[in-house]
């Protein structure tokens, strides 16, 4: 048992921290958010140049063979700056799915480009009525000649508007919520039959709805067998999100603590009031719980698939979701009116923290998942 970082991990953390600190000022972030991409393409390129987009990939693909711990360290720093780039979506999730299911040619063609940052990919697994259930797939794919064509609507594809490729789930067999019969396809968003409705997200990002009308898709893995990989890779995405949430919570707590020490009312710093002190301690306490679960998730993210891994990742997301909401709400409450404004940084942290719980399962979703797998000794 060991919770220390290796020298390399420490360096990785420092590199990511420095980059985020140098680039992501509050004003710059608003600028990036308002841009057409909704994030900084320069920052994205820097992530590539510094090798951060290559971290989880195998060495033969130009990567560093990093594990969930390395991913957590990067995501935590991205969370500290509430960075807008679709790192998790492209590097962790699209990269993970292609790495697990792709054939040699697909891996060679796509993973190297994702690892270098040259290709930004997105993933379209959700649908308007699936409510986090990845097996609830109504989009269909039909064989057409040697290829496949997809029809349906995929929901809230973060980074989908700028993506060079999108990994899309579609049903090739079975009933609407069957785990069997789901396949993954690589779709070129600029090809015929694909249209997108692009929108801003509450947390300052951009995403889109993806409409597929007999759009061409390239099968990833064998037809009908994608669900296990989706579950496994969404577990890695959950671990990454937990890391990001911890980073964002830490900054939200720092901002709040600083405010308690400087804001004066009734002639004293408001941090002198015991009711606010205890609330602040409760925020730190939630941050500690979340940190522990993010570490647990990072250590399990790349373990072999098992019911125990899935259950513990659900537990991590459950605890982190709850903690993130608590910290977000109390960050606003303790700041008072100022945190109700667009101009205040803390408000944007609060928004990202709450939105994290709407990605890959909210607390109800994971409570149910964990509960269903409860081990009764």
């Amino acid at each position: 048992m060991d919770f220390k970082l290796t020298e390399e991990q420490q360096m990785l953390q420092d590199t990511a921290a420095r980059l985020v600190r140098d680039v992501y000022t509050f004003e710059k972030r608003l600028e990036f958010s308002d841009s057409e991409a909704g994030f900084s393409t320069d920052f994205w390129n820097q992530l590539g140049e510094l090798g951060l987009t290559a971290i989880p990939f195998a060495e033969e693909l130009g990567g560093f063979g990093g594990s969930g711990v390395e991913t957590m360290l990067i995501m935590e720093q991205l969370g500290r700056g509430i960075c807008l780039e679709p790192y998790m979506e492209s590097v962790v999730l699209a990269g993970g799915l292609i790495g697990q299911l792709g054939n040699e040619q697909q891996k060679e063609e796509l993973l190297g480009a994702i690892a270098s940052g040259e290709l930004q990919a997105a993933v379209a697994l959700d649908e308007p009525s699936n409510h986090y259930n990845l097996a609830d797939v109504q989009t269909t794919a039909k064989q057409a000649g040697s290829g496949w064509t997809l029809s349906g609507r995929k929901a809230v594809v973060i980074g989908g508007h700028t993506a060079g490729k999108i990994v899309v789930s579609a049903r090739t067999a079975g009933d609407v919520r069957d785990q069997q019969g789901i396949s993954l396809f690589i779709v070129d968003p600029n090809s015929a039959g694909v249209s997108r409705r692009v929108y801003a997200t509450v947390d300052g990002r951009k995403g889109c709805e993806l409409f597929l009308d007999n759009a061409e898709g390239e099968l990833l893995g064998s037809a009908g067998d994608a669900y296990d990989a989706m579950r496994y890779q969404s577990g890695r995405a959950i671990a990454a999100l937990c890391g990001e949430a911890v980073g964002a919570m830490r900054t939200a707590c720092d901002l709040t603590l600083d405010y308690l020490k400087t804001r004066k009312q009734f002639g004293v710093a408001i941090g002198k009031f015991q009711v606010l002190q205890h609330r602040m301690v409760d925020m730190i306490s939630e941050l500690e719980r979340a940190t522990s679960m993010a570490i647990l998730a990072a250590c399990l993210a790349d373990d072999e698939d098992s019911a125990e891994r899935s259950a513990k990742l659900s537990a991590a997301k459950f605890i982190v979701n709850r903690a993130a909401r608590y910290v977000a709400e109390q960050c606003i409450q303790l700041h008072g009116g100022i945190a109700m404004t667009w101009e205040y940084n803390g408000a944007h942290y609060a928004k990202r923290l709450v939105m994290i719980s709407h990605q890959f399962g909210d607390d109800d979703h994971h409570l149910e998942a964990y509960s269903n797998q409860l081990v009764v000794a």
Binding site: Q277, H278, I284, S285, R289, F318, I319, L367, S371, L374
Partner: protein
Amino acid sequence: MDIHYSAEQLAFRDEVRAFLKQELPADIASKVKLGKHLTKADHERWQKTLSKRGWYAPGWPVEHGGTDWGPVEKHIFDEETSAAGAPRTIPFGVAMVAPVIIKFGTEAQKQQYLPRILSGEDWWCQGYSEPGAGSDLASLKTRAVRDGDHYVVNGQKTWTTLGQHANMIFCLVRTDPEAQQQRGISFLLIDMATPGITVRPIITLDGDHEVNEVFFDDVRVPVENLVGEENKGWTCAKYLLTHERTGLAGIGSSKAALSHLKKIAAKQQKNGKSLLEDSLFRAQIAEVEMSLMAAEVSTLRIVAAASEGGVPGAESSILKVQGTEIRQAITHLIRKALGPYALPFLPEELEGGFEGEYLVDDYAAAPASTYFNMRKLSIFGGSNEIQKNIVSKMILEL
């Protein structure tokens, strides 16, 4: 970063498990798991077994009869003994007065008291709280006045846990009434058989006799029973608070209680199914289990840091709050699992020798009483609100 135990640590865990399987008396483990009352003899029997194996005082230096375990091993030991249903170690002698004697005591005090703690000859209790000094411990008023070779002690201590079994008590007493709060306090060791000491039971809300009041009326205590310097007793008290403790959050005992909860939920019925198959109840078990998982990882993080020489500071306050809240949540669910059968108050069913017919089952008598008894967790050892004050001051510097 690695969340798993090393091969050596796993081997140690197996060694502890094998020992428990062999040596932990089944009747005692059953009482612990069912929340029944343990007798003094039960505690003494288990203590002797641990002592014989050299495992009664894991936190002591080896030369005094301790172990060479690191924090991880102590954590494993704590977790395994709790899970197996071993009685919790009564901490007042082995884990409280002993570390103070080892750190601040004279050679003669070490020679006299440490072996008697190991052998079980002495049963210690703690004389800290007073009717007017609870969370504000430093406002204590029990007086000790020097008279030749003795201190003459007058005053009252309260919440003295298992004082009815004890032959020794360590006390914080005021030796300088003029000095500022913490400064005029001394740490005294007192023989309970000294004339002038009266112990009166306090019956707690669950009907149990666990705590007492202790009255001191011109009690003459030899000066050699002073630990450390006169008026420096607060240093000893503070050392105890920061002294590295295993089981910060009571993870082991919460795990044992959680598994007991699942067993009870499997037996209790609702809508023709067990409560364990009821999605609402099951989700509540799941929720507390996930919180416990987080507290366990937090404990392991502190334990691992302690192995590297770190001193657990205010983080242990956060864990005390989280751990006690989890333990209380489990007792709440166990009580709820009984439905209307939480109402009957049948203390006789909690006695070890009970041979009558249980109203419901052997597990059903304790839960409501245990639930109320466990409210103490967020009050003693520094109430959870005091813990938050500590974090606020020490970590947050507010």
